[in-house]
Each structure stands twice: as structure tokens, then as C-alpha cells.
């Protein structure tokens, strides 16, 4: 069963400024959902709200299961990757150790994911020393390694070269086929077109538009969404 979320009048205010909302929205994240919007639109805040790690100033957000169960079945890749001050191997093993997986099984999964992200030769390297792109790949693998039902990705390909981006996209499609719903932000319109099944377009902290990707990218949108897609500056 896929998880669904209900947002009711959700507002996030920081220092007397509304940075998100009000948003009322029913989210069925099955497949790949891409969140688009200019810098400062509230994409990161929106993802954190959905994951339940951002304090709401008003309104409610509930998943179709209990908060605890929802968090346990989700994973999140932050916009700037957080590396544990440990080796690559220990970083990958960490989420599995937390849920008490047997050692042999952990070792197996760690090897296989290190292979998938091209860090098999770097397993004993201290993670904080990796390059920016390598850190991003590691953070992604560390999120997917627990086979979550929903994964939030905040610009997972921001520092990646073309080839790595393609590899990651292939990984995401595969994870999605295996039953992981993906909700991600990106600034590459091309990537959005390649991956998206659904699109949510945020502007000034509000959901300005949302639709199935097929129609979002083809039929004419609101002026703002159209301008954003065309690469113009949205004021």
C-alpha cells in the first residue's frame, strides 16, 4: 500500500515571515513527483514539512499511517549532504545498524550499494573527505539502502556531472520500480521531464500549480509556470 499525505492549511512562519503556505493539498506520491520552483520558493521547506521535520506554525499534515511509522518508512537526502565523521562503509551501514539488521546482511548491502554509486574502491575513505559529488551520491545511497517506502531528495544531482546524473537517474527509476515513491526537487527542467510522473510547482511558498507531468509540460500553463519552464525569471 502506498502512503498518502494530507495537508490542511499548512503554514510555516519564521521571524514573522510566511515562508510556506497556506497549503491544503492531498498528496499521493506513488511514482516520481518533482517539485519545481525558483530559489527561495519554499521547496526545501515543503519537503521537510512532508517528512515531518519542520515545525508548523499552523495547520496539519498527516500521513495515512502514524507519524512514527511514516518517518520510519521514509528517507531524506538533504540539499547539502550530511556526512557522519566516519568511513564511507560506516556511513552506508549506519541506517541499517539503527534498525538492528544482522551484520552479514549489512555487509552485503553496503558492498552492493557502494558498487552502484561507484564508491566501491573508497569504502575505507573518511566520508567528510569525499568530493562534493561523491558526498551527494553517498547520501543518496545511504537513504535508499533501507528500501524506504518514500524518499525525499532535495536536489540530489546539483553537483553531479552529466554521466553521474544519468547513473543516479537510472538508480532512482529502479528504486521506484521496486516500490519506493520519490519526491524530489530539481533545477534541471530536462531532468524533471525525464523523470516526473507528477509535478508540483511552488511559487512564493504556495502550490501555484500541480498536475500529471504529461500535461504539465505540454499544455499551456499559468503565465508564471510557463515563464519558469521557458527559463525566464519569475517575479
Amino acid at each position: 500500500m502506498t502512503l498518502t499525505a494530507k495537508l490542511k492549511d499548512v503554514c510555516v512562519k519564521r521571524q514573522h515571515k510566511t515562508i510556506l503556505g497556506p497549503i491544503s493539498y492531498d498528496l499521493n506520491p506513488a511514482g516520481i513527483t518533482i517539485v519545481l520552483g525558483p530559489n527561495g520558493a519554499g521547496k526545501t521547506t515543503f519537503l521537510k514539512v512532508l517528512h515531518g521535520v519542520e515545525r508548523l506554525s499552523s495547520g496539519h499534515m498527516t500521513w495515512s499511517v502514524s507519524d512514527d511509522e511514516a518517518r520510519a518508512s521514509q528517507a531524506y537526502v538533504f540539499q547539502s549532504p550530511i556526512m557522519l565523521r566516519r568511513t564511507v562503509r560506516q556511513n552506508l551501514a549506519f541506517p541499517l545498524q539503527l534498525v538492528g539488521m544482522p551484520k552479514a546482511q549489512i555487509a552485503e548491502r553496503v558492498e552492493s550499494w557502494a558498487q552502484k554509486i561507484g564508491l566501491a574502491q573508497a569504502l575505507e575513505v573518511s566520508a567528510p573527505r569525499l568530493s562534493g559529488g561523491e558526498k551527494q551520491k553517498l547520501a543518496l545511497a545511504r537513504a535508499l539502502i533501507r528500501e524506504p517506502k518514500v524518499v525525499f531528495l532535495d536536489e540530489p544531482c546539483a553537483n553531479l556531472d552529466g554521466r553521474s546524473t544519468r547513473e543516479i537517474e537510472a538508480l532512482l527509476i529502479k528504486a521506484n520500480e521496486a516500490g519506493t515513491s520519490i519526491i524530489m526537487t530539481t533545477h534541471h527542467i530536462g531532468q524533471a521531464k525525464r523523470l516526473a510522473e507528477n509535478v508540483i510547482f511552488l511559487l512564493d511558498g504556495k502550490i501555484h500549480d500541480s498536475d500529471a507531468a504529461a500535461s504539465f509540460f505540454t499544455t499551456s500553463r499559468t503565465a508564471e509556470a510557463g515563464a519558469f519552464l521557458a527559463g525566464d525569471i519569475v517575479e
Partner: protein, 234 residues
């Protein structure tokens, strides 16, 4: 001036020949302070870490109290422990006064706030870095504390060493609660105080050299630790 030179000479001789008194006193000093260090660390490391990650009502007050306790004069700690352990005190029946155990208790009280405070500082930084990830991974409080302690282990070792340095060089409190009894509660610092008073500079200086050596070793260890920390070697 001659006295001092003669003292230095015989102090050196005491050390190289392994004078039994000097060795006994040194070992007792280590026994007391290492015990105090272990107990204080067991209390202070988890407590300091917990203080860094938990938001609760009296958190600021607790931190302020911790800093105040850190500035507590050891002599006063000695006095309080003395009163608690003396015959007429609440713990008098245990008969602990003038034993190494009493000295360990006093040192634990003196260094626990110091270790907890340094731990709190270091862990707050690490927690700021890890916060989002650990929350997102749905970790229990206990798992968070364990992760921070593991990844902050060098900083914690440094905190413990600082505590040890303070314990081994402390004289006021253990003089009061230990009583500086020969072959029972005499340690490096109290022996130096006594021998200096008696005018036996040879033994006093010999003991002083040992104490300085221990302090240097501790400081050197802290230095090496902070260097390997930066290089991320362990």
C-alpha cells in the same frame, strides 16, 4: 641555594633508584585519580552529551549550575565531603573518612562538572551538524547519544584528560578528606606539601618531578589527540 642543588641531586637519585616511598605514593596517586576519572567520566560524558541534545525547561539553569560547580574551590568540596563522611555526618556509618575512597569521592565531585562542561561544548557542535540526519533517521534518544559519543570520542577523551590533569594535581580537598596518612592516604600532592613543610626538599622535589612528568604526559596526549582529530586518523 646549596640546599636546592643538594635537593635536586638527591631527588634525581630517588627517582633513578626507584625509591619505595616515592613509588608507593605515585601509585596511590594514580589509583585515586584514575578511579575518580573513570567514575566522573561515566557520569559526565553521557550527561554532557544529553545536555547538548535535549531541550528541556531548566536547560539553561542546568548549564549555569554546571559552570558554577566547575568554579567550586576544591577546599570547599573537601570540607563538604568531610562533613558528610565524618562520624556525625549522614554517611558516617560507612567509615569512609581518611580512606582513598573518600579522596576518590572528593575528586569525582571536583572533576565531573569540568568534564561535563567540556563534553557539552564539543557535543553541541557535533549535534548541530548531525541534527537533521539523526532526526530524519527516526533515531531514539539513546541512539542519538551513542552516535554522538562515538563520533565525538576524541573530543571526549580530551575532556577526560583535562579532568585527570585537574584531579592529579589537586591538593586541598584530598588533604582534608584523606588526612595525608603515611602508607594509607598519602599521595603526590599532599606528600609534597608535607615534605616541604618538614624541609625534606629531596623527596619533595622528587615527587614534584613525577607530578610534572604526569602533567606533561597528559598535555602531550591532548595535543596529539587534537592533531590526529584534524587528520581524521581514527
Amino acid at each position: 641555594m646549596n640546599d636546592i642543588w643538594a635537593g635536586l641531586g638527591s631527588a634525581f637519585w630517588l627517582i633513578v633508584t626507584g625509591d619505595p616511598d616515592l613509588i608507593e605514593i605515585t601509585l596511590r596517586s594514580l589509583q585515586v585519580s584514575v578511579s575518580a576519572l573513570v567514575i566522573a567520566s561515566l557520569i559526565a560524558l553521557p550527561f554532557g552529551t544529553w545536555l547538548a541534545i535535549r531541550r528541556f525547561r531548566f536547560r539553561r539553569a542546568t548549564i549555569a549550575a554546571l559552570n558554577a560547580l566547575m568554579g567550586l574551590p576544591p577546599v570547599v568540596v573537601g570540607l563538604i565531603v568531610y562533613l558528610l563522611l565524618s562520624r556525625s555526618g549522614p554517611f558516617g556509618v560507612l567509615g569512609l573518612l581518611f580512606t582513598p575512597t573518600a579522596m576518590i569521592i572528593a575528586q569525582v565531585i571536583i572533576i565531573t562538572p569540568l568534564i561535563a562542561s567540556i563534553t557539552h561544548q564539543a557535543m553541541r557542535e557535533l549535534w548541530a551538524e548531525y541534527h537533521d540526519l539523526l532526526i530524519s533517521l527516526n533515531t531514539s534518544n539513546w541512539q542519538r547519544v551513542r552516535t554522538l559519543i562515538y563520533d565525538g570520542r576524541r573530543a571526549l577523551l580530551t575532556a577526560s584528560l583535562a579532568g585527570f590533569g585537574r584531579a592529579i594535581g589537586e591538593v586541598g580537598a584530598i588533604m582534608i578528606v584523606g588526612g595525608n596518612i603515611d602508607h594509607a592516604t598519602r599521595v603526590l600532592t599532599t606528600a609534597i606539601a608535607l615534605e616541604t613543610g618538614k624541609g625534606d626538599f629531596a623527596l619533595a622535589l622528587g615527587l614534584g618531578f613525577v607530578l610534572i612528568a604526569l602533567a606533561l604526559i597528559v598535555n602531550f596526549a591532548i595535543h596529539v589527540l587534537s592533531r590526529t582529530e584534524r587528520e581524521g586518523r581514527w
